[in-house]
């Protein structure tokens, strides 16, 4: 068995410990930037929803500024964002390379996308429900938590699943500029040294990660949809 694996995927066996370190780095980047992005994206998505014209906390200046800023960041390709954010990253984390250095660009790349996902999930909430809650004298803040967020849990989970999966892709790209992780690993060995089995091994791992995320998301969506 060991013999067979050695013949089939010699480089993977050779770099086995490094592969797991790279996988750990990918997970680290995903979890840290994912959690921060989830929080920020949720806040911005909610703000976009409730400050839009005719909504419960309509506020044109806030809405317009946030809307435009999100559009700007969404239109910058991530690879350029990585380079453009180097000064800011250095300012916040102290260095612009390595796994920690990748976190800031990942957040900037993810938050605008996730904000839109949340915005569209919350847009699914029937205006009638908001009106009903208002007619009961529920305050705007409570309407956000008890109606908007509560009612759109399946939509939020769906948006989160999509965002986390796209985050997997971003972490691989961040790897290319020295962020470490599976993307870095695949480029360094699989591409630059033409060790194809390494490329395939990272692909298998990433496919497994994405399937897990999607499967997990689907279970929650099914459980929360009535």
């Amino acid at each position: 068995m060991a013999e067979l694996l050695n013949n089939l995927i010699p480089n993977v066996i050779d770099k086995w410990p490094d592969l797991w370190i790279a996988f750990g780095e990918t997970l680290y980047m995903m979890v840290v930037s994912g959690l921060i992005s989830f929080l920020l994206g949720m806040i911005f998505g909610v703000v976009l929803t409730v400050t839009a014209e005719g909504r419960i906390m309509a506020n044109k200046p806030v809405f317009t500024v946030l809307d435009k800023v999100i559009n700007i960041f969404r239109s910058v390709p991530f690879i350029i964002l990585l380079a453009a954010l180097i000064p800011l990253t250095r300012l916040i984390v102290g260095k612009a390379i390595g796994t920690a250095g990748a976190i800031i660009p990942l957040i900037f790349g993810t938050v605008p996308f996730f904000s839109r996902q949340i915005e569209s999930a919350l847009a699914e909430v029937d205006h009638g429900l908001i009106e009903a809650a208002q007619s009961m004298g529920v305050s705007p803040i409570k309407i956000i938590f008890r109606v908007y967020l509560r009612e759109s849990i399946p939509g939020i989970v769906r948006g989160t699943t999509i965002t986390v999966i796209s985050l997997v892709g971003l972490t691989a790209m961040a790897g290319a500029v020295g962020g470490g992780g599976l993307g870095d690993f695949a480029i360094r060995y699989g591409y630059n040294r033409n060790q194809v089995d390494i490329t395939y091994a990272t692909v298998v791992i990433l496919v497994a990660v994405v399937s897990l995320i999607q499967g997990f998301g689907n279970i929650i969506i099914r459980k929360t949809t009535h």
């Binding site: 009638g128 429900l129 009106e131 007619s135 009961m136 004298g137 409570k142 008890r146 509560r150 849990i153």
Partner: protein
């Protein structure tokens, strides 16, 4: 209970503005079931939203249960709203919550213990006859059941006023009847003041005490339901009333020259309308017995509104000229208005 004084609501600004409600003044008494009827776009939904300030009137004063809502600050207004329940055409129940969760929703900040809350919710479920659906989700309920849950939810904060915005428009006729019956019971048992917005005259006829007819943002006619039905003044009101009666169909038959309305020379088609409260005599029997005229009824539409018969019938009256004349006079004396729609003699 509800006082609207010169309430106007304009949407938009400048030359594109639309005045949805213009200068409406209404006074709705405690314990009254008040109907507001109008075609879509007449401004009735906006008007009812002005009552609980979901729409802020551009002008005018809204007072509910002695509190001038138009003068309250947002926090005070929210508190005052718990005194005004509201139900909607599309029920607006939360899909993520069970029937129990939906009804308990307005009680979340009431400071009740779990037991008190359960007791309250179960009482409301009993009131709307939905005790066995406590743990169901709205998606598992029929339209009528959803509206019952919505009514229970609207009553959770013990309001004095219930606003119904087209609450039966999405329901089939039988379910509509059962919901209206429930509203009438609530009105009688709890002394609840109910405002019903509808485009169906049948709904008004079924439960309302008084009705306001709206057109182009204005109240064009207002009165007791019986009087409005008996003596509609505005063309729009007459239109609405016509929708509840089938007597108009005779005109279609005449137009089509249907065999049903082919008259002999000694026959006339007459339309009798009972529009005052004192028609108690069996006039048709009297006609055939005392005046020896034949009455062959084509259409009849008689409703009991506020415990008095209202409506009329269309019939072919046959007999000698003289007797027919006498019969018509007798009817007039008995406060039945008579209209001869077609005359067999003219057909010659």
């Amino acid at each position: 209970m509800i006082e609207l004084e010169h309430v106007s609501k304009t949407f938009g600004a400048g030359c594109e503005s639309v005045e949805a409600v213009s200068d409406v003044s209404l006074s709705i008494g405690a314990g009254e079931i008040f109907g507001i009827i109008g075609f879509s776009g007449a401004g009735k939904s906006t008007l009812v939203r002005c009552i609980n300030m979901l729409e802020t009137p551009t002008e005018g004063k809204v007072t509910v249960d002695g509190k001038e809502l138009t003068a309250l600050r947002p926090g005070e207004l929210r508190k005052a709203r718990s005194n005004i329940g509201m139900i909607f055409q599309h029920f607006n129940l939360m899909r993520s919550r069970t029937v129990y969760g939906n009804i308990a929703f307005p009680l979340l900040d009431a400071g009740l213990t779990k037991e008190q809350e359960r007791e309250k919710v179960r009482g409301l479920l009993k009131l709307v006859d939905m005790e066995d659906k406590e743990n169901a989700y709205p998606s598992q309920l029929s339209g009528g059941q959803k509206q019952r849950v919505a009514i229970a939810r609207a009553l959770a904060s013990d309001p004095k006023v219930l606003l119904c915005d087209e609450a039966t428009s999405a329901l089939d006729p039988q379910t509509t009847q059962s919901i209206l019956r429930l509203l009438r019971d609530l009105n009688r048992e709890l002394g609840l003041t109910i405002v019903i917005i509808t485009h169906e005259m049948a709904v008004v006829k079924e439960v309302c005490h008084r009705v306001a007819v709206m057109e182009n943002g204005r109240v064009v006619e207002l009165g007791g339901v019986f009087d409005i039905f008996a003596h509609p003044e505005q063309p729009i009101t007459q239109d609405f009333i016509r929708t509840t009666s089938n007597l108009q169909k005779v005109y279609d038959l005449l137009e089509e020259k249907s065999p049903v309305v082919q008259l002999q020379q000694d026959e006339r088609i007459v339309r009798l309308t009972y529009d005052s409260r004192n028609v108690a005599e069996p006039v048709i029997s009297v006609l055939s017995r005392e005046y020896r005229v034949n009455m062959s009824i084509i259409f009849s539409s008689i409703e009991i509104i506020e415990d008095a018969p209202l409506g009329g019938l269309v019939a072919i009256m046959g007999g000698e000229d003289e007797r027919i004349e006498q019969a018509l006079n007798y009817l007039k004396e008995r406060n039945v208005s008579v209209e001869v729609i077609a005359d067999g003699r003219a057909a010659e």
